[in-house]
C-alpha cells in the first residue's frame, strides 16, 4: 500500500512540475522582448546579435529567435541591431516624436523598420509604411540621413508610429553585406542616434 501511495505521489509531482515548467518556459521564451535578452549592448541604445540563424547559437538563443523573429539571415549575410529606447534610456512610445539621425553605413543595403513591441508585427498606418532603406531615404552631402518617427505626418522621411497613445515600439536596423571594414568593427560601428523631439 505504501508503495502505491509513493508511486501516485511521484506521478502527481512529475505531472504538476511538467505543466508548471512548460508554462514557465513558454512564457519566458515568448514574452515580447525575450528575443533580445541575449543580444549584446553596443552603446547603451542599440543591441546587437550575430547569432541569428547561427549553428553557434545556444538552445535558448535559437528558440527565442525562432519564436520572436524566425528565418533571419546568418551573420555571413546580414547583421541586426535593435533598440527599444531613445538615447536617454526612455522606452520608445507611440505618443512621442523622435528624430533618428544616421551616419553613412558602409554596406550594400540597410533598412530601418518599426515594429509594435507587443504584437512584434508592423504597425498599421495610412501610409502603409514601416521602414526606410538606404535607397529610399534622402541623404545629405556628407551621407548622413534623418528619419522622423511620429504618430502624425512629418515633412521628411516619416516613419509612422501608431496613433494609439502610450504603446511601445522598437526599431530594427538591418545591415546587409557589410563591407570588410564595417565587418571588422562589428558591433562597434557608428549607429544612428535616437533623439526624442517631443512627447
Amino acid at each position: 500500500m505504501k508503495y502505491l501511495i509513493a508511486l501516485v505521489g511521484a506521478i502527481l509531482i512529475v505531472a504538476a512540475t511538467f505543466f508548471v515548467a512548460r508554462a514557465t518556459t513558454v512564457k519566458s521564451l515568448t514574452s515580447e522582448t525575450s528575443i533580445f535578452d541575449t543580444f549584446e549592448d553596443v552603446n547603451g541604445t542599440w543591441l546587437f546579435s550575430d547569432k541569428i540563424g547561427a549553428a553557434a547559437a545556444s538552445g535558448v538563443e535559437r528558440a527565442r529567435v525562432a519564436l520572436g523573429g524566425p528565418l533571419g539571415l546568418s551573420a555571413k549575410e546580414a547583421v541586426y541591431f535593435v533598440t527599444q529606447q531613445d538615447d536617454d534610456g526612455a522606452p520608445l512610445r507611440s505618443q512621442c516624436a523622435y528624430r533618428i539621425t544616421g551616419p553613412p553605413i558602409d554596406t550594400r543595403w540597410w533598412s530601418l523598420a518599426l515594429y509594435d513591441t507587443i504584437t512584434q508585427h508592423y504597425v498599421p498606418n495610412a501610409e502603409n509604411r514601416s521602414s526606410w532603406n538606404s535607397v529610399s531615404v534622402l541623404r545629405a552631402d556628407d551621407g548622413t540621413w534623418v528619419i522622423q518617427v511620429a504618430p502624425t505626418p512629418q515633412e521628411e522621411a516619416w516613419l509612422p508610429s501608431q496613433e494609439t497613445a502610450d504603446k511601445t515600439f522598437e526599431l530594427m536596423l538591418r545591415v546587409y553585406n557589410p563591407s570588410d571594414a564595417t565587418r571588422a568593427r562589428l558591433p562597434n560601428i557608428e549607429l544612428p542616434t535616437v533623439e526624442r523631439v517631443s512627447c
Binding site: A6, G9, A10, I13, V14, A16, T17, F18, V20, A21, R22, T24, T25, V26, L29, I35, I52, G53, A54, A55, A57, G59, V60, R62, A63, V65, A66, L67, G68, G69, P70, L71, G72, L73, S74, K76, E77, R108, W109, S111, A113, Y115, Q120, H121, Y122, P124, N128, R129, S130, S131, N133, V135, S136, M172, R174, Y176, N177
Partner: protein, 179 residues
C-alpha cells in the same frame, strides 16, 4: 519517523527538480522545430503543396507576415521535403539585392548565397540529402542536414515601382522536385 519524512521530502524535491530541468530543456529544443513546422504548413497551404514556391507579390508591410519580417524584402518561399528525392531551384537573380537561403528543421540558416557571389545572373541549385545522387542533375548541389526545411529567396525593393520587375523575375523562377 522523522528520517522517513525527510527522505520522502528530499526525494520529492529531487524528482520535481529533475522533471523541471528536463521539461525546460525539451521545450527549448523543440520550440524552433514547432515554429518551422507551422511556417512550412502555411507556405505549403499557400501554394498548394510542398516543394513548390510561393511568391509574395505585394510591396510593403503585410499583416500576415512572420514576426518582425522585413518589409523591404520581397520573398519567394518553399517548404521542402527531400524524402522522395532532391529539389531544384533555378532562375535569375535580382540586381538590387538577391539571396537564396536554406533553413534546416531546427531553424538554423545552414546555407546562404547572394547575387554578388555567383558567377552570372543565373542560378541553378539542387537541394539534396546526404547520400542522394545528384551527379547527373547539373546545377550546384547543396546538402540539407534535415529532410524538411524552408527555402527563401529575398529580393529587395526600394519602393513599389520595383514590383513589376520583381514579379517578372519571380515568374521566371522554377522550383520543384526533379523528375
Amino acid at each position: 519517523m522523522l528520517n522517513r519524512i525527510l527522505f520522502y521530502s528530499l526525494a520529492a524535491i529531487a524528482l520535481a527538480a529533475v522533471t523541471f530541468f528536463v521539461t525546460c530543456n525539451m521545450v527549448i529544443q523543440k520550440a524552433p522545430e514547432k515554429v518551422m513546422s507551422t511556417i512550412e504548413a502555411r507556405i505549403a497551404a499557400g501554394v498548394g503543396s510542398w516543394n513548390a514556391c510561393f511568391h509574395n507579390q505585394v510591396y510593403g508591410p503585410r499583416t500576415n507576415a512572420a514576426r518582425r519580417a522585413n518589409p523591404d524584402s520581397i520573398i519567394s518561399s518553399m517548404a521542402y521535403d527531400l524524402s522522395d528525392g532532391p529539389v531544384r531551384v533555378a532562375g535569375e537573380t535580382w540586381p538590387r539585392y538577391w539571396s537564396l537561403s536554406f533553413y534546416q528543421q531546427n531553424s538554423d540558416n545552414f546555407f546562404v548565397v547572394n547575387d554578388l557571389e555567383l558567377e552570372s545572373s543565373s542560378f541553378d541549385f539542387v537541394l539534396a540529402l546526404e547520400g542522394q545522387d545528384t551527379d547527373a542533375l547539373g546545377g550546384t548541389t547543396v546538402v540539407s542536414p534535415t529532410a524538411k526545411g524552408i527555402m527563401l529567396v529575398r529580393r529587395f525593393a526600394a519602393d513599389a515601382s520595383d514590383m513589376p520587375g520583381i514579379i517578372a523575375n519571380q515568374d521566371a523562377m522554377t522550383c520543384g522536385p526533379i523528375d
